[in-house]
Point group: C2
C-alpha cells in the first residue's frame, strides 16, 4: 500500500526525471503516471513508474521510469483469452538498466537482489532468471512472449521506452506470490 | 533519385536533430537511418527520415525526422495479405508538425502544399485530406488503418515517435501516382 502523498511524490519525481531526459509530457499525462509498488510496500526497492502513451488492440507504447536501484520484480506475460502473451522491446533512453532474462545465467550479476528475494524457501526463490543484459542509452532488447524477466536501474535511475503488443498488466504472472499488480492507495 | 552524398548528408542532419532532442542512437543506427525522397527528387520539400527501432509481426516503433517544412506526402496503409492496414500513433517529441487526416476540412491550414501538389488535373489532386491536427511536443494522435493522411513540419523541423502495428512500407498507397516509396541512390 502507498499513501496518497507517496504516490504523488513518486509521480512528481518521475516527471522530473523524464523532463531531465528531454521527454515532454502534458500535465494531464503527469497526473496519470502509474506508480506500482506491487503490493510489497517498499517502493524505493521494488517498484516501477509507468506512462502509457497508447494501448490498443494492436500495440502498446510506454515510458518506464526507475528510481536509483529500483527493481521491477520477476514476471512473465502469459497468453490471455487465446491471444499470445505480450512481446516487448525495451529501449534504454537515459541512465542504465540491467535486464535479466531466462537462459544461461551470467557468472556475476550487477543488480542487487531486493531483501526477501529468496522467498521462504531455497527451492522456490522469487528471482530465477539471471542472464544479464546491460542497457545503456541507445541499447535495446526484445523479450519474447511468456518469458520470465526482471530489471533493475543503476545508481542514477533509468528511463526505458517499452514498445510491445497489447498490454494486459492485470494478467502478468509474478514469481513472488505476495505480489499484487494493482496499486492500493490509502 | 538521391546522390550518395545527399543521402549521407540527410542521415547526418537527422542524427544531429535527434541528438539535439536528447534521443540517443548507436552509431550502427545512425548508419541505417532511412532517407526517403519518394522518388520525387525534391528531398527538402517532400521527404522523410526514419529510424526503425523494431518492426516485428506484432508491432513497430520508429522515430520520424522532418526537416523544416518538409512534407511526407499523402498516403494510406491498406490491408496486406488479409491482415488489417497499419494503425499508427504519432507523438510529437520535438518541434512542430501539422498532420492532415480525412474528415471535415479545416477552414485554413498552416502547412504549405508542395509545388506540383495539384497534380495534372483539378479533379485528381495529390492532396485531399485537410483536417488539420497540430502536434507540439507531448501531443499525440492515432490514425486509423487505411485512412488517408499527410504531414508537414513547422519552420524548425520536427521529431515524431511513431508507434504502430506491423509496418509494411512497400505496400503504402500514395495519392500521387509519381511516387516510388523505395529510395533510389545513384
Amino acid at each position: 500500500m502507498l499513501t496518497k502523498e507517496q504516490y504523488l511524490q513518486a509521480q512528481q519525481r518521475s516527471a522530473r526525471m523524464l523532463a531531465q531526459a528531454g521527454i515532454v509530457l502534458t500535465s494531464a499525462e503527469i497526473e496519470k503516471i502509474e506508480v506500482a509498488d506491487f503490493g510489497l510496500g517498499e517502493l524505493e526497492t521494488s517498484g516501477l513508474q509507468v506512462v502509457v502513451y497508447i494501448n490498443n488492440e494492436h500495440y502498446c507504447a510506454k515510458e518506464l521510469v526507475l528510481f536509483p536501484r529500483q527493481t521491477c520484480p520477476e514476471h512473465r506475460h502469459p497468453p490471455v483469452e487465446g491471444r499470445p502473451g505480450k512481446t516487448e522491446t525495451f529501449r534504454c533512453r537515459w541512465g542504465k538498466v540491467w535486464l535479466y532474462v531466462a537462459g544461461e545465467p551470467s557468472e556475476q550479476i550487477q543488480a542487487v537482489l531486493p531483501p526477501g528475494s529468496k522467498g521462504g524457501s531455497e527451492t522456490h526463490p522469487y528471482y530465477t532468471a539471471f542472464q544479464e543484459i546491460e542497457l545503456n542509452p541507445g541499447d535495446q532488447y526484445t523479450i519474447p512472449a511468456d518469458s520470465l524477466h526482471w530489471f533493475q536501474a543503476g545508481e542514477g535511475g533509468a528511463i526505458v521506452s517499452e514498445f510491445s503488443s497489447t498490454s494486459r498488466d492485470e494478467s502478468d504472472h509474478f514469481t513472488d506470490p505476495r505480489i499484487q499488480r494493482a496499486t492500493v492507495v490509502g
